[in-house]
């Protein structure tokens, strides 16, 4: 025999002014099974909760209905009150008479009152069918997987490892360091990028809690939060890292030259190479696509000159498995390809280069020894035009969003140009100057006032060649006139674009991504580092364009999330999840395809009745299921039910009105 207690909240004036609460309470008392009903000013207050606790004991109630605000606000508060009174917290129902009645029917008190009564009737009917539920305990494997060895991945790995949690750091290229390793100096302080990055890289390599897997890729991820299983492909490097000393004789002698991707193709590297002098690990790998020994079976120079005999042409890709509890994705960004900008002569004019090419040129360890040079004739440029928003904020040719860092790095480039070539002049074409950040506006002022860079407001319309000069035409909107700048070199501030393999990786991990390929966070404001899939976190430009401080901050935030996840030996999980009744399941697998969390798998069970035949049924992984109910709705044989929202409960609600 059910004994339901109903508490109707005024929520001050929020509900009280628009719903006739005493009338609602009177109406509620008439419902069969309601043994107790009362109104109160603020049920969520301490005395309100005390009232619930006392009433449960005094009136031997079997379920509770609170008619108040959205369950998103105070469901937890009231559940706590129930369990404090010795009652199972899942015997609570919340009737939302604020957002669903008083707020939306402020002009019609009668209707709002009537709707409130209906909502309470439904909640009472549902609560009668409520069952006692218990939080699910899931074991946790305390090891984190960090995908990507740029500054975000490095920071996340170090922070997690410092909490004495083992970390596996997977990096696809031969060295960690990522994009930051390619930068010369960093805004707004102009400290040397490599000088601040390389100590961290060395820390990663020497950290007792970090397992560094360079030249590797994650190929599979199974399981659920706290209990993932990752398959990682260690690509064949053809060099035995255990014996190699990184002496460099092999790449000095290698006869094959290939465009150097670390230097954005400005110079050449060899087929056996280490990307840059401070690489971690500082061991070379053989590029199988270009090595003549691996393609044609001829050459073998590197093996001949290697004193340690570390070259092994027979090496194969190796698959390894790791059991992990959480994943941090930090795959970084690519530069947007400016090819559609034909009016800027991209691809036609050699002296129109991208920002990262310029960055490599002015970098002390870069291909030109720190001096910018014109790719066409090798001369040092005097007049350099910088064009911002190339690709960014261009719906026709590029992308809609702002890449966030171009304003700042262009200001930096203007300053660096002046540092490297004293008698030069920088012209910056801009649409807006977005310098939000600590010390950023001051930095832009430094470029404009101290360096004297000429800022011209407008997008460049076209570039044409006149002799060996580039004529850059655009408007200076400040004076409303067309300007033509005679330039030696043009640098395009190309947009930040997500790493091209992001969609594949997202599918592999079971997380979502946006139309560009940026991985999606769970909530844009309140859950910016989590993904919709529990236990997978995002750091750095893989989620959205970011500068270094933001990437590092987000990486540290993921570390805090991972540490919180691993703080106990087991994790508590909401019990409101789906379950399959194998007796009814027909094995159609419709549920498998609709599940947004990949929580449903199939299994084979015996037919029964002594038969040796088996049949396929669905099975829900309770660690992964988030209780969305999609499978319940699609199941045609009604084999799936959702705890806390059973078919019976829903039918009760419908019958009640």
């Amino acid at each position: 025999m059910a004994r339901v207690g109903v508490f109707v909240c005024f929520c001050g004036a929020n509900i009280g002014d628009f719903v006739d609460i005493p009338a609602v309470v009177e109406e509620t008392k008439k419902i069969k099974d309601v043994k107790y009903a009362i109104e109160y000013k603020y049920v969520c207050s301490d005395p309100g909760q005390q009232m619930i606790r006392d009433t449960i004991v005094d009136h031997r109630l079997t379920s509770i209905v609170v008619a108040a605000c959205s369950p998103r606000m105070h469901e937890k508060t009231f559940r706590k009150a129930l369990s404090d009174a010795g009652m199972n917290p899942y015997l609570l129902e919340v009737a939302n008479i604020r957002e669903h009645a008083s707020w939306v029917h402020q002009k019609d008190k009668e209707a709002a009152t009537e709707k409130s009564c209906d909502l309470i009737r439904m909640a009472v009917a549902k609560s009668i069918a409520n069952e006692q539920l218990h939080e699910i305990s899931v074991p946790v494997t305390k090891r984190a997987l960090v995908i990507g060895g740029g500054i975000a991945g490095i920071q996340a790995a170090l922070d997690i490892a410092d909490a004495r949690i083992p970390v596996t750091l997977v990096e696809k290229s031969p060295s960690i360091g990522g994009r930051m390793a390619q930068l010369d100096e960093t805004f707004p302080t102009l400290d040397c990028s490599q000088c601040i990055l390389t100590p961290r890289m060395v820390d990663v390599a020497s950290h007792p809690y970090i397992e560094l897997l360079p030249y590797s890729e994650v190929t599979e991820l199974d399981g659920y939060v706290g209990n993932y299983k990752a398959k990682i492909k260690k690509k064949a490097s053809f060099v035995n890292f255990d014996t190699c000393t990184g002496c460099g004789t092999c790449w000095q002698k290698c006869p094959v030259k290939v465009p150097n991707e670390f230097n954005m193709g400005v110079d050449k590297r060899k087929a056996i190479y280490s990307p840059f002098p401070q690489a971690v690990p500082n061991k070379p790998v053989i590029d199988a696509e270009h090595c003549t020994m691996l393609i044609k079976g001829k050459c073998g120079v590197c093996a001949k000159v290697c004193e340690k005999g570390s070259i092994d042409y027979e090496m194969k890709d190796e698959m390894i498995e790791r059991e992990i509890g959480a994943v941090v994705v930090a795959t970084g960004f690519d530069l947007w390809d400016p090819k559609p900008y034909e009016e800027y002569g991209v691809g036609r004019f050699k002296d129109v280069i991208t920002s990262l090419e310029f960055e490599r040129m002015v970098s002390a360890n870069g291909p030109t020894g720190g001096v910018p040079v014109r790719p066409s004739d090798g001369n040092v440029p005097k007049n350099v035009v910088f064009i911002k928003c190339v690709g960014s904020r261009d719906e026709a040719k590029g992308i809609e969003y702002c890449s966030k860092v171009c304003c700042m790095y262009t200001a930096k480039h203007a300053i660096l140009l002046h540092h490297k070539v004293h008698d030069s002049h920088a012209y910056v074409f801009y649409m807006d100057i977005r310098a939000a950040g600590k010390g950023y506006e001051e930095f832009v002022k430094r470029a404009q006032v101290e360096t004297g860079a000429t800022y011209l407001r407008g997008r460049v319309s076209k570039i044409y060649k006149k002799g060996d000069k580039l004529m850059v035409i655009g408007e200076d909107a400040q004076i409303g006139q067309v300007v033509e700048v005679e330039a030696d070199m043009v640098v395009l501030a190309t947009a930040i674009y997500p790493y091209k393999d992001n969609p594949d990786l997202a599918r592999l991990l079971g997380i979502s991504y946006d139309k560009y390929g940026f991985l999606s966070e769970a909530h844009p404001k309140l859950r910016p580092v989590e993904t919709a899939k529990a236990g997978i976190f995002l750091a750095g430009c893989t989620q959205a364009p970011k500068d270094i401080p933001d990437s590092v901050a987000q990486a540290s935030a993921t570390a805090a999330k991972v540490c919180a996840l691993f703080s106990g030996d087991t994790m508590k999980k909401d019990p409101m999840i789906a379950s399959v009744n194998p007796e009814f399941c027909s094995g159609c697998e419709n549920c498998v395809s609709v599940c947004p969390y990949q929580a449903i798998v199939t299994e084979e069970i015996p037919m029964g009745h002594g038969s040796e035949e088996v049949r396929t049924v669905s099975k829900i992984n309770e660690g992964v299921c988030q209780g969305c109910g999609s499978c319940v709705a699609i199941c045609r044989s009604m084999a799936i039910d959702l705890a806390g929202f059973t078919d019976m409960q829903i039918i009760n609600e419908i019958v009640a009105i």
């Binding site: 008698d423 030069s424 006032v449 004076i479 067309v482 300007v483 005679e486």
Partner: protein, 189 residues
């Protein structure tokens, strides 16, 4: 079309900066000066555009503008400038540079304004201060517009806004000596 990039140095900017004691590069083109200026509507380039023209080194265009001649040096702009640029000083500097290089607009209004300045200085030289009545008369004679603003005269006279005589300063000779010294200094520079 404005052509940029032929010279690395911006000599015009340097000259204006040196003369005005300001750095025009400080201007970030917010336009607060334009909104503040009581006469920006009469200028062909409002103060913000003049600043940008100096930044771009557009010497000839700047000299040919009427903006600096219309500027009243009321300093409302510099009182509100977020970058603390003394815009009246900049305007004054361009006036000086334009006269030094003998390159300025020959529009009627600019000519009148320059004449006004000349007569004013003449009054100060003579009396040590301005003699309004004579100043007005001379201005009207020299601009060949005898009856300009005449209708305001009776009212202004009655209210005592235009004194009939002038009270010379104690020593006009000292004033004249000062002018001579200033001329000498100008020549030695």
């Amino acid at each position: 079309m404005i052509k940029l990039g032929q010279q690395i140095e911006n000599k015009f900017l340097e000259a204006v900066n040196n003369k005005s004691g300001n750095n025009v590069l400080d201007c970030y083109q917010c336009g607060k000066c334009v909104g503040t200026c009581p006469v920006s509507d009469f200028m062909d380039y409002p103060p913000r555009e003049i600043m940008q023209m100096i930044k771009l080194g557009l010497k000839d265009e700047t000299y040919m503008a009427n903006s600096m001649w219309f500027c009243l040096t009321c300093a409302a702009c510099s009182g509100r400038c977020p970058r603390e640029i003394n815009i009246p000083y900049v305007m004054e500097s361009i006036r000086h540079l334009a006269i030094e290089e003998n390159e300025y607009s020959d529009s009627g209004k600019v000519k009148q304004i320059m004449k006004f300045h000349e007569i004013f200085i003449d009054m100060v030289k003579r009396y040590g201060r301005n003699y309004e009545l004579r100043m007005m008369a001379e201005f009207n004679i020299r601009t060949r517009n005898l009856f300009k603003d005449m209708h305001l005269a009776p009212k202004a006279l009655l209210k005592g806004k235009i004194p009939l005589g002038v009270k010379k300063v104690k020593s006009t000779k000292a004033i004249q000596r000062m002018f001579k010294m200033a001329e000498k200094l100008e020549k030695t520079q």
